[in-house]
Amino acid sequence: MAIFRTDALSGLKIDKATENLVRWNVIAALATLAVGGLLGLLVVLTRWPSVHLLPLDYYYRFLTLHGIDALLAWIIFFEIALVHFTSAALLGTRSYVPWLGWLAFALMLAGGAVINVIVLMGGADVMFTSYVPLKGDPLYYLGVILFAVGALLGFIVFFINILLSKRDGGYKRTLPLGAFGMLAASIIAVLTLGHGAAIMIPTWLWSMDLIGTIDPAAYRLVFWGLGHSSQQINVSAMVAVWYMSSAFIIGGKPVNEKLSRTAFVLYILFINVASEHHLLVDPVFSTWHKIVNTSYMMHLAVLASMIHAFAIPASIEVALRKQGHTRGLFEWLKKAPWGNPAFSGMAISILLFGFLGGITGVIFGTEQFNIIRHNTIAITGHFHGTVVAGTTIAFMGFTYLLIQYVFRREIIWKGFATIQPWIYGVGVALLSIGMMSAGSFGVPRRHYDITFSGAPFSFTFDPSIDLFLSMMGVGGVLAVTGGVLYIVLSFGSIIWGKKIEQ
């Protein structure tokens, strides 16, 4: 029997059983971001040449785990929280299979824990990509499979809720736009996790010597169907969060909803081919194959991002103009609620995703340009512009809404909450620009020692890289400061925040 409540702040009708799933997935997301962020600090302090903190083996281990915790676990836990939230609050439907939601959560938690322990114990020094024939501990692959199956089940719960809610008259013709965006993310997730199963299950069997060989080229191709496509789930979920934030905070409605929905469909159709980015210098695939994917089809996905990138600010402008801020071109921008961290988080995310992650993604993803940027730290700068400056800041902003709507707590330390997205945003922007600039001079990504000490041939980079890598280091420290503030504010509000009476 479903028990609903009507939220006092948002007016949303929320299913209480699903609300608990949202809460625990958010808590798990926060915990994994805390670990991933701390590891990120240690990694950036090692790549900053004047600090060079960690010893060799711990550097590569922590780098691997930073990627897994901050790139996959934090974001996917939050996305599962988002699909439950859109199901419980936007559709106003009950959860038809809450037990499946909890099973999914348990599998993700178990898989994440196994991966963390195995990597820290040195059982998976094969890096994030785990390219065969490098072989890790079978438990590492098992952890990845458990986490992926858990995530898949989480998205399946969303599909079931959508289908049965329609049958029971939960919504009329089509889904609300936020739920539509999360549905697009979920469809991309199924495609992504299918690739993951197709490559990780055989690799797991191979790691136990049950299969003779795995073809390295096939591994690379299918792995990136998982590795990069998972970032496309993030893009779609982030855009859905932008639309929902605009609607919740200032009552923004898309200027042309059909166009926004079409853009989500473009994501589903074309965005997965962006995984070819990683294979642009791979000798196995033909130039024709690479160019068709990254110089033609990818731009249809970019077109979708451009539509969203202007549709959402336009919805904000129209809403604020309706509130009376009509003077000149930009009065609405001045009068926007910049002191609200949920709004500023969304706005900073849109700005940085567009200028840092988006522009560089299109440029670095082009075959001819990629040849000089491939495997340099410029690529790392690009994806910190998308996944961190874009997705993470958007999710941080939305957390401030979830704490009030779902945890029913007021945000503590409002002054700190107001500046948190700004500190984090400036930090990540410096980090990303520093990385991209250093990469322009050929500084490699991932590499522990760019002085190449002990190597048979000497190589010296342009001296300006010291400035750029210092910029990266300062930006990283600032971002971690903003990240710690976010974690403290979120957990502090959940535990000690004043209860919002219903």
Partner: protein
């Protein structure tokens, strides 16, 4: 009967201007990369 005004109205003129700025920045960075290819790495 007053004549009906058929002019299009830009609902979000501020974002229209921001879009033009974004386009200009994109073009500048794109061509800066081309110049970088030619000047620093010697690509013809």
């Amino acid at each position: 009967m007053p004549q009906q005004d058929h002019r299009d109205i830009i609902e979000a003129p501020g974002v229209f201007v921001l879009a033009l700025i974004f386009l200009a920045v994109f073009i500048v960075i794109w061509f800066a990369h081309l110049k970088w290819l030619m000047d620093v790495w010697g690509v013809q």
